[in-house]
Symmetry: D2
Subunit: 153 residues, 4 copies
Amino acid sequence: MALPAYIENLETWTEEFAYFFPVNVRFSETDAFGHLNNTNTFVYFEHGRISFFKQIGLMQEWMSRETNAIPVTADLHCDYMKQVYFDEELRIGVKLNRVGTSSMDIHYVALNRKDEVCFTGRGTIVQVSKVTGKGEPWTESEKEMLEATMPQR
Amino acid sequence: MALPAYIENLETWTEEFAYFFPVNVRFSETDAFGHLNNTNTFVYFEHGRISFFKQIGLMQEWMSRETNAIPVTADLHCDYMKQVYFDEELRIGVKLNRVGTSSMDIHYVALNRKDEVCFTGRGTIVQVSKVTGKGEPWTESEKEMLEATMPQR
Amino acid sequence: MALPAYIENLETWTEEFAYFFPVNVRFSETDAFGHLNNTNTFVYFEHGRISFFKQIGLMQEWMSRETNAIPVTADLHCDYMKQVYFDEELRIGVKLNRVGTSSMDIHYVALNRKDEVCFTGRGTIVQVSKVTGKGEPWTESEKEMLEATMPQR
Amino acid sequence: MALPAYIENLETWTEEFAYFFPVNVRFSETDAFGHLNNTNTFVYFEHGRISFFKQIGLMQEWMSRETNAIPVTADLHCDYMKQVYFDEELRIGVKLNRVGTSSMDIHYVALNRKDEVCFTGRGTIVQVSKVTGKGEPWTESEKEMLEATMPQR
């Protein structure tokens, strides 16, 4: 199988994940084909991403500071590699791949109990000003906070 | 099968519905048992209820008036009578059963193409003041508007 | 506030729960009113109920035995007592209230970090034969297994 | 704003859509930011795609024929261009962009009442044999059926 454009080497790429969030596949998330419905991988990505933002302190920044900046999803991708079934215990990995002026590129991976890659993904989040509706550049402290979480390359 | 406590006579009760909202069962709403997952009937109830509120003009009241009243769900029931599958065309019936001082009791029915009852439900909505957090009585015009939609008995 | 018909005394009723399942409210489960959407309490009930079935060994029975019995939801209720918001840590309590010939009545409670009751619920599950479509009585060993989990009264 | 890689010219690309499926944004699909939660665009894509498959007759093929081929989602993308709110009436466009040996590349667009592009997407569906788990080539009649729906270029 060809790899998605955002993954050069699957093994190296997977090893770079340092933050993981546990998910237990719910019965209501399966569909009549008997497996996890394809729309729910994005629910897991969002839940993992927000947990990651909380852990690095960014969520608190967004909720406490006076400027009206909010995070907006610009795009989202998911590549499905292995079927997932009811009651599986997954670990959703989240890592920053790149930090822009007011955006960030986030990568995702879902590993099962055998550490097999079930699905991968990526997406851009942009920090937007509620007032102007335009991209709101990261402050120095935010940029440092974000870069500190990036994998060493 | 015993009827739910809120239905005395299923035929009479079903004939009282005057407002219907169409729903086409989505694949993502099924589960690994191959049928509509039981949690989605409440999604249909909410969608039908809000459409009903829009039709009678109450939704506009809530969104335009100066007093800060909002509708809050106090309880919800669903009774499952017939299994529902992917791609079925349902009609979700919504009717007011009783109007209280600041609340209303709403009944729901889901009919399939053969007009068979697939599931029924009921629930209380309370109008609450955002300021005091307590029940906010209907105005005279709201009460009239609501009572005008009730079945003649 | 009046209690739901299935709760005589809220304190005694709540103390009877012995099995709890943790849930962290997802952002995608909130709605434009800023709180947990009312349809998702039933998702939590289902996830908690199935975890409970796994813990007592019934899920394994259903999946391994030769007779074609499956569990079917007959009805579901939810009573909303306290608003729930994004990222709250809830504990979903599940207990058997009554065991019938081929059915069981299950009660649910959601407690927040302060052990406040946020919402409660109940519902009947019926064991049905895939062949006849009718209620399939519990075996002796299942009945014992189920009764062993019931609160002492 | 830069266009996604799968769109060369947004106007031409949008004009190529011939099949549209209506969607009314549900309240339960919004989130605490007050808009459509980003995970639900994929629910709309799936619902539109399956309706498209039914219209061209492919769904019936999958469900009736003796060979055990099923459609599997290989990847999915969504690009968010304009915020969507509760109760908006959207039209979800679905078109085939490319037909491979056992796969197809599908494009999606969501237009609001003013015909503005709210979000776009694409994804690959692969026809897989249930027996071998490998790609199952289209038959001649399927290939013709599929190519007949593609835009003239």
